[in-house]
Amino acid sequence: MNPEKVVFGFFIVLALTLNFGFFVGEIDNPDHHHAWELFFVVVVNMIATVLKFGDRTQMGAVLLATSLVAMLQLLAASLIWTIAAHATETGLTPSIMASIVSLSGGAMIANVVSVVLLVIETVLLRR
């Protein structure tokens, strides 16, 4: 058992599960999506991305790419949230909430791809 692989797998799967936790619920209902969840999703995704740095294999490169995509979407989501909540008069309207959640949905797909790739690698490796 390689402890590095444990940590790596842990963070990738945690990123996916947290992302899912934020994503579920009515898409435009602010009560169903919590700011703290988004915060943790971003933090865990960042950690997962940095963990993928410096892996020279082809798989490592693709994993890094998916993580970068997820980060991009999540940062866009949190940016929209921050601007809507603090910089506009209207606050968090249902339509803005819907776009935040859909962005996080996109990030979730990237995270799913990450996990699928991880599973494929594990199956191929057989050791």
Partner: protein
Amino acid sequence: MDTIFFLVLRRMRTPLLTLIVVYAIAMAGLALIPAQDADGQPTAMSLFHAFYFVSYMSTTIGFGELPNAFTDAQRIWVSLSVFFTVAVWIYAIGNLITLLQDSTLQRAIAERRFRTLVRRLGVPFYLVCGYGQTGSALVRGLMERHIQSVVIDVDPERISLLQLDNQREYVPALCADARSPQALEAAGLKHPLCRGVVALTNVNEANLKIAIAAKLLHPEVKVICRADSHEVEANMASFGTDHIYDPFDAFASYIAFSIQSPCQTLLIDWLSGRGGEELDEPRYPPRQGRWVICGYGRFGKAMYKHLKARGFELSVIEAEPHKTGIPTEGVVHGRGTEAVTLEQARIRQAVGLVAGTDQDADNLSIIMTALALNPDLFVIARENHIQNQELFDRVGAQAIMNPSTIIAHRIRMRLITPLLSDLSRLARLQRDEAWASQLISRIIALVDGRKPYVWEVSLDTMQAPAIQDATRRGQTITLGTLLRDPLERERTLPAIPLLLIQGEERRPLPALKAPIGPGDRLLFCGREEARWRMDWVLCNIHALRYVIDGESRREGPAWRWLAAWQSRLRGV
């Protein structure tokens, strides 16, 4: 590129992770701790405000408490967070600085820079492996003729020496083991402009490996090697190494040849030396008698073989004959540094002495003792280290054999003026001593006590566009035309044409009436300024026209058309 990028990413992983975690905890704490607004009402800090505050907290401590004044609970948390975030920043930056000083990374960066430099080279170059005595002499010699070289050496000290040397032109150098094909490739072995690979390391096996790699990776490239043993030499020759130089054999055959034909030797010495140096006195080794050879190693054996072939009587002195083998005449046991052993070898009746051990101190001592016993000796000294040059100059040896200089000299000649090797071979086979001594007197008259400058001219579009242009218009150009001074056509340039190659035909000392045309190759010797003047005739159509018929006409297409139009007007 890849290596550096991944190295940095990999090493920065832990610091970045620590930064993220510490920032996340600081933000979470700030957002969780109850706060109060301007009126003292309890409220909570949003995650956005927490992010904002933490972002500037560690970098600009004392910016103030925003958006509202803090509660004491918040202040406790912030003071803790300040210490942690600052510590993490110091850790991350320190890590980055350590990484930049890391020798692996620095080597990777140096190699990358070297690769880029070599890839961008726009001129033909030679790849020199090994920057020892031979390599540095060769690189300097090539640079004098503005020929680019690229250097690999395994010793970092020599590479920094090269960079400190303050060369006239930039020589890209890499510290790497030339035995690895990657290093050779980085140094441009596969580069289309790579003209040749010169393997000059002091390890025979390394030279062999370089030759093999060069022949496999870039078959068209010229490979020149140094080999100190006949086995390695035969091995190199077996897969088509172009030129192999064995310094001991080269020098021994040179001495043997100079005994046979001193004038030809002197001639080739002058021509292959550096132009502009003082002419040296001819040496006349004795033509018969007894030679004493001290040291029966590689050099001693080579001298023995060549002197034996000339029919000399020989005595050999060797300290460890069981290791080196014993010649048919037998051997005097000893080092030759003592008078007794020299007497035993009958030094008083000898005409020549070869001090050929691999210890410079021994060689010097042998020469001094022997000259005390017999001051008329012709002395050949083997100099192993170039630092001892001054001592050898003073000891009174007529010929000094330094392996590195000999090899560097031969290779330089081979690379810069390949036609000179042709000439010396032709002279050796077809011409006699009288021919050589006549040519020597012509050169003396021409160059005024200095060694002549030797250069080659190929009549192609690159080197001689004017000649190309003139022959295309149907003019015949003779060798005499080239040798006229473009400033004053009645004068002849101070140069002698040594060799003319037309197709398969090689003509030494061609006549001035000989017609020349595109594709011909010429070898000249003379004063250096003659070469620059001749370049005018080769490249400039006006200069060429002037030396042909003494007129300066309008030569550009538009001007020619105008001239034709004018003459037509005049005709009407």
